[in-house]
């Protein structure tokens, strides 16, 4: 049997609602065609602990809101040929970044969640990654090669971009994607 080297694809879920991953899964039967061409090397839907080397395409959902996400994003950039911002949180910050409108939002957001809104055991956790002062869209931190806006982006759009990239073509977003 002929062995074809599959494209190594990763997906990452940073600060977002997972809706973009849901949209990715909404490709439905097209996922079967996709599975023939790709190897999913890292993803919230694949049990892999460490972001691997030599990744061809990485789709990233969500904005960067804490230090763990920041280091994962930087590592992904180092180890990926084509990095894609998937969805509005990754592209603009979106709802995740609304806390940027508060003063000292890194402290304020924890105060709000763990003290003001907690009915029992009011305490700010200390064993979780440090929250960043501001939430950033990906391109404020690393170089991003393609942007797929949308909240969430449609399954058809995600499929188009991935299919074009797998075929070695440059996706033409004109008239396909919608800002915000």
């Amino acid at each position: 049997m002929e062995t074809v080297e599959k494209t190594r694809v990763a997906t990452i879920w940073l600060s977002g609602c997972s809706g973009c991953h849901m949209s990715f899964l909404d490709q439905d039967e097209l996922l079967i065609d996709l599975a023939k061409k790709i190897k999913l090397v890292y993803s919230p839907i694949a049990d892999v602990k460490v972001f691997p080397e030599n990744v061809d395409v990485t789709l990233i959902e969500g904005a960067v809101a804490n230090e763990e996400q920041l280091s994962l994003l930087k590592r992904a950039r180092e180890r990926t040929k084509i990095l894609i911002s998937l969805g509005d949180c990754a592209v603009t910050g979106n709802v995740t970044a609304l806390r940027n409108t508060w003063e000292n939002s890194d402290q304020a957001v924890l105060q709000r969640a763990y003290i003001e809104n907690a009915q029992v055991k009011q305490q700010i956790p200390t064993d979780v990654p440090k929250v960043l002062k501001k939430v950033h869209p990906l391109h404020e931190v690393v170089k991003v090669d393609y942007f797929i806006p949308g909240c969430p982006p449609s399954a058809a759009l995600i499929n188009y971009v991935v299919t074009e990239l797998l075929a070695g073509r440059t996706p033409n977003m004109e008239g396909r994607s919608k800002y915000g």
């Binding site: 911002s85 509005d88 592209v91 603009t92 910050g93 979106n94 709802v95 970044a97 609304l98 940027n100 409108t101 508060w102 501001k134 869209p137 391109h139 404020e140 991003v144 942007f147 806006p149 909240c151 977003m173 004109e174 994607s177 919608k178 800002y179 915000g180």
Partner: protein
């Protein structure tokens, strides 16, 4: 007596229009569409958004088509790589200036700023955002203003002043800090001059002024100023 006319070239097309016509109007009347945002037929031109910038042969400067009158022999270019770059930049600056989050905005999919971003291929914003947190005033019975979504196009001010004739709305402060205010910076619900005519909500290109409980797609009616102006001139009788 016929008005004096001027002949010029727009994108290579020779056009003849009455003297005093703006480049924008001359282009539009000849089927050439220049992108605009603050401009609205029926209201005085403002020249604030810089989307209608065009090139004129012989000058290195760019000119806002909405406030630049035509002159004889002028050669205007409305589409070029340079202009597209500047227009994209203008849209990105508007998106970065305040807190524009389409997914939670009443005007999502019915927004002129969003639609221009799409037309120009703006899929992300290069500039760091200001993340403003300005006052949202919902003290009026049904009109709401969210200043974080305002792009300071002043359409609402102009329609309030020039069409409704009450001048409830105005601006305070300057530059990026400028804000739309009611009367002498009263809460909208306390305004003694507002007639609650809704024209401000109808012409707002974004989701800054809207009617509570009403879909923006239903409220928006950007032709309202032109429509009323024509009716006042009894144009239907001609």
């Amino acid at each position: 007596m016929t008005a004096t006319t001027v002949t010029l070239k727009i994108d290579g097309l020779e056009v003849t229009v009455p003297e005093g016509t703006t480049i924008l109007k001359a282009a539009k009347d000849n089927g050439i569409i220049i992108p605009t945002l603050c401009n609205l037929e029926g209201l005085s031109p403002y020249g604030g958004c810089r989307l209608c910038l065009v090139e004129i042969s012989g000058s290195p400067k760019l000119f806002p088509a909405c406030i630049t009158p035509v002159s004889s022999g002028m050669e205007v270019t409305t589409q070029s790589e340079r202009l597209t770059e500047y227009r994209k930049m203008a849209v990105q600056m508007l998106l970065a200036e305040r807190t524009h989050i389409c997914s939670v905005c009443v005007a999502n999919d019915h927004c002129e700023l969003q639609s221009l971003a799409n037309q120009l291929g703006v899929d992300h914003v290069l500039f760091e955002r200001n993340w403003t947190r300005l006052e949202i005033d919902s003290s009026h019975d049904f009109l709401v203003i969210d200043r974080n979504r305002c792009i300071l196009c002043t359409r609402c001010l102009r329609v309030c002043d020039e069409i409704e004739g009450v001048h409830t709305l105005d601006l305070k402060l300057r530059g990026k800090d400028a804000q739309v205010i009611m009367d002498l910076d009263e809460h909208w619900g306390n305004s003694c001059s507002c007639t609650s005519c809704r024209k401000c909500a109808k012409v707002c290109p974004v989701g800054a002024i809207y009617i509570e409980g009403e879909p923006v797609s239903h409220t928006k009616h950007k032709d309202i100023a032109e429509f009323i102006t024509e009716r006042r001139q009894r144009k239907w009788k001609q």
